[in-house]
């Protein structure tokens, strides 16, 4: 179907964008890559009165190495982040996870920050941010703040971003130890039925699970002490998967256990 009509703003600076968003209030939405928002509008599941298009805002596309990680700007497309050697050097998990996000044509336009703000519990990048303990930098009329991943995701498609706030960038920390991400999807490029990102460092192990709760579910499995089958059972006890047309809750729980063991082993060997 066709999207409902809206008033269009095309700010050229961050200040203008924040101003337009603040003025629009609850009626306003940011348009980044549009790869989640436009499908929702085409299906008439979203009908924002005002769109603030950030595609013409200068300086939002940067990918920069910072102490202890990499910062990805709000206009960096999935494909650019995937190709970025800066991002790969700081945190290889970012590239590996992005290769599981949709198809190249969607990644050419969709942004990594947009995918995190969209906060779909089935999406890969929110799980990666949650696993690594990264953060989201946002700006509103009252200034800038950094929101830690653990406080950012509040429900399915819900975040602690306030009305009128623009996400400027996300920060993916480098991690001591190895990382991995594995998932099972009906078709390559589809949203996964279940997936697990893992981090194994000396004396510490944890996973972040997707598609098995309202937000990415982070489980500390350090106590399993390298017994990944036991870690898998710990993970299965912590998740509350739901059934949908793609998979039953039991199947999701089973898959998540298998994937957790696999991801942890891969991360430990990495």
């Amino acid at each position: 179907m066709k999207p409902p009509s809206f008033v269009y703003h095309a700010p050229a600076t961050v200040a203008e964008a924040v101003e337009a968003l603040t003025a629009a209030g609850a009626d306003g939405k940011v348009l980044a890559g549009g790869q989640s928002l436009i499908p929702l509008m085409n299906m008439r599941l979203a009908a924002p009165g005002r769109l603030v298009d950030i595609n013409h805002v200068a300086g939002l596309g940067e990918i920069t190495a910072e102490a202890g990680g990499v910062r990805v700007g709000a206009l960096a497309r999935h494909a650019e982040v995937e190709a970025s050697e800066t991002a790969f050097a700081a945190q290889p998990l970012v590239r590996r996870a992005l290769r599981l996000v949709a198809h190249p044509a969607v990644r050419n336009r969709g942004t990594t920050v947009g995918s995190i703000v969209h906060a779909d519990p089935a999406a890969e990048m929110p799980a990666v941010l949650a696993l690594l303990g990264g953060s989201v930098r946002v700006r509103g009329a009252d200034g800038e703040r950094d929101i830690p991943a653990a406080e950012f995701f509040t429900g399915p498609m819900e975040s602690s971003l306030r009305t009128g706030e623009l996400a400027l960038s996300v920060f993916f920390p480098a991690a001591e130890g190895g990382t991995a991400i594995v998932e099972v999807a009906r078709r390559h490029g589809d949203y996964a039925m279940a997936g697990v990102a893992a981090l194994v460092a000396p004396g510490h192990a944890r996973v972040a699970c997707l598609s098995v709760g309202p937000v990415p579910v982070v489980v500390d499995v350090t106590e399993a002490g390298g017994d990944w089958a036991r870690a898998a059972r710990l993970v299965q006890e912590q998740i509350e998967p739901e059934a949908d047309i793609h998979a039953t809750a039991d199947y999701r729980r089973h898959l998540t256990g298998v994937l957790a063991a696999r991801a942890l082993k891969e991360a430990a060997d990495a």
Partner: protein, 158 residues
């Protein structure tokens, strides 16, 4: 209403459209370029794929106003006058199409892919077309077409 000018297949094209006009409809309805097909309108089928500044994107998930000033290549822009492009000839030769509904999306996607990867392995060719749906061919001949197009391009040079 917004005045939108895009460089479509090398030519500046203008129309006055509402902000909600999808790039797919801008091309088809406002410019009369009906080669770009519209299947699902939510990003899944790939029929509407066009090249935006050389990169494949979903025209159904792009507002025309948002990409004003940029270059768009549609299926109409692939041939060199009367002579079909190597990718188009490969699809015709290998029966990479039947009804043709999905074909514009495959042709644009494969054209961009072979520019980056002129000699793909089989799994790379399959991966390259994995985001486009075809209800007719069963994909085997589409994958063959990708390889044949790579051959033709290698033979004919840049």
């Amino acid at each position: 209403m917004h005045d939108v000018t895009l460089i479509v297949n090398g030519v500046p094209r203008h129309a006055r459209v509402p902000a909600r006009r999808l790039l797919s409809d801008f091309l088809r309805h406002d410019l009369g370029l009906t080669g770009t097909h519209v299947g699902c309108e939510h990003g899944v089928c790939g029929a509407c794929t066009v090249l935006l500044d050389g990169q494949p994107v979903r025209a159904c998930l792009t507002f025309a106003v948002s990409v004003a000033g940029h270059e768009v290549t549609t299926v109409e822009g692939l041939a060199d006058g009367e002579r079909l492009s190597p990718v188009q000839r490969a699809f015709a030769e290998c029966h990479g199409l039947q009804c043709g509904f999905c074909t514009p999306g495959f042709l644009t996607t494969v054209t961009a892919f072979l520019r980056e990867n002129p000699a793909p392995a089989d799994d790379e060719a399959i991966e390259a077309v994995a985001g486009n749906l075809c209800r007719c061919t069963g994909y085997q001949n589409i994958v063959k077409s990708v390889h044949r197009a790579a051959e033709l391009m290698a033979e004919e040079g840049p």
